[in-house]
Amino acid sequence: MTWSEMQPLLEQACWDTLYMVGWSTLIAVVGGLPLGILLVLTDRGGLLQNLAANKVIGQIVNIARSLPFIILMVALMSFTRWITGTTIGREAAIVPLAVGAIPFFARLVETAVREVDHGLVEAVQAMGGNTWTIVRKVLVPESLPSLISSTTTTVVALIGYSAMAGTVGAGGLGDIAIRYGYQRFETGLMWITVAILAVVISLIQFAGDYAARSLHRRGAHSGPAPRLRLLKAAS
């Protein structure tokens, strides 16, 4: 296989992967963020304590998380058809990808939001803030660096899942690697896709880490020689 033959294949595959991962990440964040916050709020001692609801949500999340992606994809076929009108192609792959990623992201959100100091919640309660205010002004902004890291983790996981989307004809880099690289013994093409995946994932991880760190830094370790500042303690 020559490069001129590979190039259009790879280009299309990149776009397919980007398309699937992009949309499913968006849906996962939109769905998983409130779900994760709800898991914290409804838990014992939470602002909206409701142990029954917490159990139900928790169980659904656990079940969805324990299913291997390829099985989830098959199990969701009728649901996928209901949503997109088909079970084949990029659009059809987005449905199981998103459904698989929502509980994954929700658990990460739960962990991140639980880390927020309860004193901050109390401070806003003492100011007269309601639960919605606390979610908007405290829980989300204070856990933002962790939420960004969680999103990065989710994107990377979704790129992994999307390799399996080839089985429903959705294309993507993983699909190319399997169909051409493995089944047709095009080892060169396989290594190129592996390299592209490695680069893409590194870039995403780097960008995510950078964003999380720069947000975190303004909070925690900013300014020159903080120790010296403490010693001076101008107040």
Partner: protein, 344 residues
């Protein structure tokens, strides 16, 4: 300004019951700085958190500025609109400052104003004004992590004042600060109390805090208030634990046939040369075991522990002489006898 009536708080966890507050009656008058002191576990934290109903009392009522907050609370665990509005008129500062690390100093101070629905312009004007008041005008754009502990607490105080509260609750506000910073924060609270007529309820485990800023104080033990009153009343109460703790005196009797007497001077009596008068009148030798003069709650107070020769029974007359001079006399180990005498 703040009144609690028969306030009780019982925590139930895994079948065990812990009584944190056991019938607390607290009365804080308008414009005063009121200190509640006690060891950890005494229930003072529960008490202050019950005042703005961050903690629901099991029974009893809380009213702040004439408004019965317990009646506003409703039945559910969440705070209704009325209670939230009432809370916005009560400022609160915390031991660990509880500033949002994701916001700048100015944005932290603006937060309560956002909750009150003020416009952006009003918010920044008010926030800068408050930062100026607490002496942090130049740090408006800094993040909390860039500030020292004392500066953070100043931001906490500015934030607590954003809603123009009449009452400020201070939950161990200086306990995480070093002594010098503690003094400057207490001085700030004192200034705000005077300038704005702010009523301050503070809880602390440090006697120095009560000594330097409080007009009134209460001592808590095992969920009850065991002593309370204005600082000068407490100092004038024979055998008051709080007074003794505010003004500790050391020194043991040098022998069994000697009597230790604690003398407390307040106001005018402090200027009289009573000890030398005592020595001359009764021709006795007096040793001074310990003495101090200090300002407590803005009052000049002196305390002295002296030793008289002879047993307590031999010294009834000199002690009577001191009492006649308008001094407050405590004889350690003879409190019951004294109280009886005082009642005559």
């Amino acid at each position: 300004m703040i009144t609690t009536t028969d306030l009780t708080k019982v925590y139930r966890a895994r079948g065990r019951e812990v009584t944190a507050l056991d019938g607390v009656d607290l009365h804080v008058r308008e414009g005063e700085v009121y200190g509640v002191i006690g060891q950890s576990g005494a229930g003072k934290s529960s008490l202050i958190r019950c005042v703005n109903l961050l903690e629901r009392p099991t029974s009893g009522t809380v009213s702040v500025d004439g408004q019965d907050l317990t009646a506003l609370a409703g039945r559910g665990p969440r705070a209704g609109k009325e209670l939230r509005r009432a809370r916005s008129r009560i400022g609160m500062v915390f031991q660990h400052f509880n500033l949002l690390s994701s916001r700048t100093v100015q944005d932290n101070v603006e937060l309560p104003l956002e909750i009150l629905g003020k416009t952006g312009k009003e918010r920044s004007r008010k926030a800068l004004e408050l930062l100026d008041l607490v002496g942090l005008a130049d740090q408006a754009k800094a993040y909390p992590a860039q500030l020292s502990g004392g500066q953070k607490q100043r931001v906490g105080i500015a934030r607590a004042l954003a809603g123009d509260p009449k009452v400020l609750l201070s939950d161990e506000a200086t306990s995480a600060l070093d002594p010098e910073t503690t003094r400057s924060i207490l001085a700030l609270l004192r200034d705000l109390n005077r300038q704005l007529g702010l009523t301050v309820l503070l809880i602390t485990h440090e006697m120095d805090v009560v000594k330097s800023v409080c007009d009134s104080a209460a001592l808590m033990e095992n969920g009850r208030i065991v002593e309370s009153g204005t600082v000068s009343d407490l100092l004038a109460t024979p055998g008051s634990e709080l007074a003794a703790a505010l003004f500790p005196l050391d020194g043991e009797a040098s022998g069994a046939d000697r009597t230790v007497v604690d003398v407390t001077f307040q106001g005018e009596s402090a200027t009289q040369p009573v000890i030398s008068q005592l020595a001359r009148t009764y021709n006795i030798d007096i040793s001074i075991l310990g003495a101090a003069i200090d300002t407590v709650g803005g009052l000049q107070v002196g305390r002295m522990r002296i030793e008289l020769p002879g047993r307590y029974e031999d010294n009834v007359v000199p002690i009577g002489f001191l009492r006649e001079k308008g001094l407050q006399i405590d004889v350690p180990g003879h409190e019951s006898a004294l109280v009886k005498e005082g009642a005559k």
